[in-house]
């Protein structure tokens, strides 16, 4: 007998019975409870998170306005410039809802490859890998450092329908500028506040992959991480 001898149906039926029995057992465990004063200390991060969330929403609105202006400018430029239109239209596509969204659904044929790993050959001192995974064309790695304001997050999205990047930014006063990583076009979102996340995003049309690096870092550091990234495909 092997593990695969259990069919999904058998497992589902058994799990249903176990869930019902578990609930019954838990309901016999009831102990009246009111959170203690010490619990208020635990809630401080939640207060902070709620405040940050509100700030984030405000920032998104500001950023969207700024990006909208950028897109409108780009549209006007592209309307009069065939060369520019051919090189840019593959990746700069839309803003969606309250999120900043880029898509790589260009006219030119692109090879879709799934990223299996993105290894930063350089990171600011002290950062080590905290977590990482790949799943269905999505790669994520998070690097942390004791005492750092935030993690450094590296994401790559490839595969059909997955080639988009959304941001959660916390500062309305971003500097936004076009950048190039290798042969790929991208944009840099740079905060003036060292404790606020900055981001860099770029698109590799040849593989249909979008990349992003986010962290409380300066322009030089973000660009160096992005440029010194060893990208492995499945």
């Amino acid at each position: 007998m092997t593990v695969s001898d259990f069919s999904n149906r058998e497992l589902r039926e058994a799990a249903g019975l176990v869930n019902a029995a578990l609930v019954e057992a838990a309901e016999a465990c009831v102990v009246p409870h009111t959170f203690s004063d010490a619990h208020k200390q635990q809630l401080r991060p939640l207060f902070k998170a709620a405040r940050q969330h509100e700030k984030q929403k405000t920032v998104r609105r500001g950023l969207i306005a700024a990006l909208l202006a950028l897109v409108l400018g780009a549209v006007a430029f592209l309307a009069f410039n065939d060369t520019a239109r051919a090189s840019v239209q593959k990746w700069l596509r839309s803003l969606s809802g309250t999120a900043i969204t880029y898509q790589t659904e260009g006219d030119a044929e692109s090879t879709t490859k799934a990223v299996s790993n993105c290894i930063p050959l350089w990171l600011p001192e002290g950062y080590t890998l905290e977590s990482g995974f790949t799943d269905s064309g999505f790669f994520h790695a998070s690097y942390s450092k004791d005492g750092a304001a935030s993690t450094i997050d590296i994401d790559a999205i490839s595969g059909e329908g997955a080639s988009s990047v959304s941001f959660n930014l916390y500062d309305a006063d971003y500097k936004i500028r076009q950048i190039t990583i290798g042969d790929c076009h991208g944009e840099l979102f740079l905060s003036n506040d060292a404790n606020i996340t900055s981001a860099i995003v770029w698109f590799d049309d040849s593989t249909g992959t979008s990349f992003s690096v986010m962290g409380c870092l300066g322009e030089e550091e973000l660009l160096r991480i992005a440029k010194d990234l060893e990208i492995q495909y499945e």
Binding site: M1, T2, V3, D5, F6, N8, E10, L11, R12, E13, A14, A15, G16, L17, V18, N19, A20, A21, L22, V23, A25, A26, E27, C29, V30, V31, P32, H33, F35, S36, A38, H39, Q42, L43, L46, F47, A49, A50, H53, S131, G132, F133, T134, D135, S136
Partner: protein, 173 residues
């Protein structure tokens, strides 16, 4: 509870969370207390469980359903046992991965369900999330703060443990 509600955007989610909080807080605390045998640890586990609930409001559409209650129990067990595992660093436990959850008795004569009910809490939680709640590996990973790779590996081990438990009882499929 007001603080938890601040973390939710929609009025509907807030209302649903409030219902969950009022209906199941004592049950969840009881589960955590049973596993940690310590009020402070149980409170910590309960707090962590509610934070997890905030992240999973989309999966808790019906507060009174047995699925919702089961999910809350699984999450609370997981958070309580996580605390015990962390404590293991200073006070070695026998085998943190083999920690039992709330004892469960299956009334029906279904050997597979009985074997699943007796599995260590970690394995039982994975199987319930996967096969009863229908979570993907990625969703389980997010819910339990694990990587998808680790979840996939543990699911395989859980099924292996289930097979061994069945064999021990002299059952065949």
């Amino acid at each position: 509870m007001i603080i938890y509600l601040q973390a939710l955007e929609s009025e509907e989610d807030r209302s649903r969370f409030e219902t969950l909080y009022r209906l199941y807080r004592d049950m969840m605390f009881g589960v955590a207390f049973r596993l940690t045998e310590n009020r402070e640890d149980a409170e910590d586990a309960l707090h962590e469980a509610f934070l997890s609930v905030l992240d999973n409001m989309d999966k808790l559409s019906d507060p009174s359903s047995v699925a919702t209650r089961g999910f809350l129990v699984v999450i609370t067990e997981h958070k309580a046992l996580d605390l015990l595992r962390k404590r293991e660093r200073s006070l070695p436990l026998e085998d943190p991965d083999q920690l039992p959850g709330v004892p469960v008795a299956i009334q029906e004569d279904v050997p597979l369900a009985s074997a699943m009910a007796r599995l260590p809490a970690q394995y039982r939680a994975l199987l319930l999330l996967r096969y009863y709640h229908g979570f993907s590996v990625r969703e389980i990973a997010k819910t339990l703060d694990r990587t998808p790779g680790a979840v996939q590996k543990q699911l395989t081990r859980a099924k292996q443990a289930l097979r061994e438990a069945m064999e021990k009882e002299g059952c065949t499929l």
